[in-house]
Amino acid sequence: MGIELITLLIVASLLGLMALGVPLGITTLTVSLATAILYFGTRAGFFIVAANVGEVLHKYELIAVPFFVFMANVLERSGIARSLFDSMAIMGGRFRGSVAVQTCVVAVVLAAMSGIMGGEIVMLGLIALPQMLRLGYDRKLSIGIICAAGALATLIPPSVVLIVYGLAAQVSITKLFAASALPGLMLASLFIAYILVRVRLNPGLAPIFDIPETGLPLFRRMKFLKGVILPGLLIGAVLGVIYSGIATVTEAAAIGAVGALVVAAARKELTWVMARDAMRQTVLTVGSIIWLVLGAVSLIGIYNRIGGGEFLRGTLNALDIAPILVIVVMMLIVMVLGTFLEWIAIIFITVPIFAPVVVDLGFDPVWFGVLFAMNIQIYYLSPPFGPACFFLKSVAPKGIELQEIFAAVLPFIALQAVGLFLVLFFPEIALWLPGLFE
């Protein structure tokens, strides 16, 4: 059977099982196990799945996820999140959509202290989403903002995606980090612009926080900044720990978790019951997330071994089109793979084939790395396999279903695609900043 047909079968069975309501981790696991056994028999098939699934536990970076989840749970339970958003709403005054815009800005700051996707989305999902809903913001708009802005964690440096790409393609990580900063900010700006346009066209999406304080002149609203102080100090401390070289990014997340307890204690809201419940919620959240990841990685080796790579190589070789269109085709391939494969698997399959072609065509592999990372942003959001949506679902308030999340992120996927094509046709957006260091 040809690889085209197998790919189609894999995608179709993933979709079918998902639609039946089978848990997503089980869905990918079922398809992987079935493919592996049919293709390799039980001995080799069992081994390839067991080896790749087991490897997840060896991924040190992943331990930052529970740290972020715990931090968020403590901030949420101790009322810090509520007063933070009250402050933000008051500071934003009568400016429509101000809280959504501020959430985007916070997401960018959080992205500078997280290198993996997941931690930040869960954090925003726990802290920002309930508050935005409380302030009357439209559900879909709020959900979309959190998934899309939260995913920036791997575009704005530090980023494990860029590190893995840099190692795989042997491209300078310094340059990749420098090159991705501006595109990351550009995406955030696109999101903000989109919010502002939407809320102007339809004011019902973002009601103005109608309390007397928001009507005060700016300088008199300043005293309401106090809700921002403690969380601000916490974020500042974590960033400080990272950028002064005291701790690695993962360790800094642990410091943040301890810091959240300190902040709660400073507000006299730290109790044993609160800490215990925060920890139990964390266990439930990360316990459901890990099965998603275990399922997702189980397809890594299989797709490669059954000839996914060879198929791509053949497809590219058959192309007789302008170089820039070859890059476009590569981006489309990554998008398609992103609907059903895990990002590491996408790197394993595409980078060995794409990286030499990119260089041969005379393009800068740093620029291509940024395009790749931006494409991974789309992968995070795009159904059916959209991990950012899954992560948000793991903490979303009751009643928010995955299908609603998928619908909510659609406009943001379009914005990500716009950003991707901007960098594709204006490489300077990525290459200007690293060029300054030359």
Binding site: F40, R43, A44, F47, I48, A51, N52, G54, E55, H58, Y60, E61, G115, P158, V160, I163, V164, G166, L167, A168, A169, Q170, V171, S172, I173, T174, K175, I242, Y243, S244, G245, I246, A247, T248, V249, T250, I300, G301, N304, R305, G309, F348, I349, V351, P352, A355, P356, P365
Partner: protein
């Protein structure tokens, strides 16, 4: 027949490109098209640590992997995989594998961790790793108190014995750790690869030629597949690998030297080349650690004895 061989190289590594372009076509030539090899990058089918079992199970036809990954499976792999501060050049150790009994030890190790389903065709290193550092480490004495990322057991033991503090930060954090000063130096890769990934931007005092690590690789095939080959093809496969490795060792040394010379001439990077006296001091400290490590298993002891005999023979303990 096409054999799928998983390597421990990254897709964009110089070694991958060099082997794919220059050497893979030759194996078809040498076997008149009966054998072809397809290399897949590190971790692309199974995690590096799992390749012996993957070859045994037939998931892969063979592997071309740094054997240090298997140190936890059998301590002999640590001694065979990277005899810290041992050989001076990769060619010396390649010769040890080829003619000095190295292959036999590797086969015993493979048999110990699988059920005889993995055939070791050849083994040996192709490069001496440089040591990127963010502060100057000019002498043996300078190692004292330096924080050095070196997750591998034997390397950590040698650095510790030399007075440094070994740390085991995962590779994905190495870059940031060097940049921000969490570590002073970090075990990474060959000079040419460190140059490509920009490590010298954050660690401008690389030690080159390196002082510690010369990771050795193995070339294996599933025993059943190996036995199905004619004797001529078996010989061709082994000869091909050693020819490729000797050529690659020469090529990497050439590249490394060129880049190091370029950086020495430039302003931003200071390439530090240890004096022989300092290297000898480190080898002396290291030898004690090899011996301690070799106590972990009989096979490890056997591996070290084979090394020492060969190193003595070629005069590495001459004085």
């Amino acid at each position: 027949e096409i054999f799928t061989i998983q390597t421990s190289f990254n897709a964009g590594d110089f070694s991958t490109q060099y082997l794919t372009e220059t050497w893979l076509p030759k194996i078809a030539e040498m076997t008149e098209g009966r054998v072809e090899i397809q290399l897949t990058p590190n971790g692309s089918v199974v995690p590096a640590r799992e390749t012996p079992d993957a070859v045994a199970a037939g998931v892969l036809d063979g592997d071309f992997t740094s054997v240090n990954y298997f140190a936890g499976l059998e301590p002999a792999y640590a001694i065979m995989g990277d005899l810290i501060s041992g050989y001076d050049t990769p060619e010396q150790m390649l010769a040890f594998c080829k003619d000095g009994g190295g292959e036999a030890v590797m086969q015993k190790a493979a048999d110990a961790v699988t059920g005889g389903e993995v055939h070791v065709i050849a083994c040996g290193p192709y490069s001496r790793e440089a040591l990127p550092a963010r502060v100057p480490i000019r002498t043996f004495e300078d190692l004292a108190g330096k924080k050095i990322r070196s997750p591998e057991g034997l390397a950590a033991a040698v650095f510790k014995a030399a007075g440094a503090s070994p740390l085991s930060i995962p590779f994905s954090e190495v870059y940031g750790a060097l940049e921000k000063g969490i570590v002073d130096a970090a075990d990474a890769s060959a000079y040419v690869n460190n140059d490509a990934t920009g490590l010298h931007d954050v660690a401008p005092y690389p030690l080159y030629p390196g002082i510690h690590s010369m990771p050795s690789m193995q070339f294996t095939l599933n025993t059943e597949k190996w036995d199905s080959l004619s004797e001529a093809d078996q010989t061709a496969l082994r000869d091909w690998w050693y020819e490729a490795m000797f050529a690659m060792a020469a090529e990497v040394t050439k590249k490394d030297t060129e880049l190091a010379a370029r950086d020495t001439a430039g302003e931003k990077i200071e390439v530090i080349d240890w004096a022989q006296a300092d290297r000898d001091k480190l080898r002396k400290v290291a030898r004690q650690q090899w011996e301690d490590y070799a106590r972990k298993s009989d096979l490890a002891k056997e591996a070290l004895d084979a090394h020492i005999a060969y190193m003595t023979e070629i005069g590495l303990f001459g004085n």
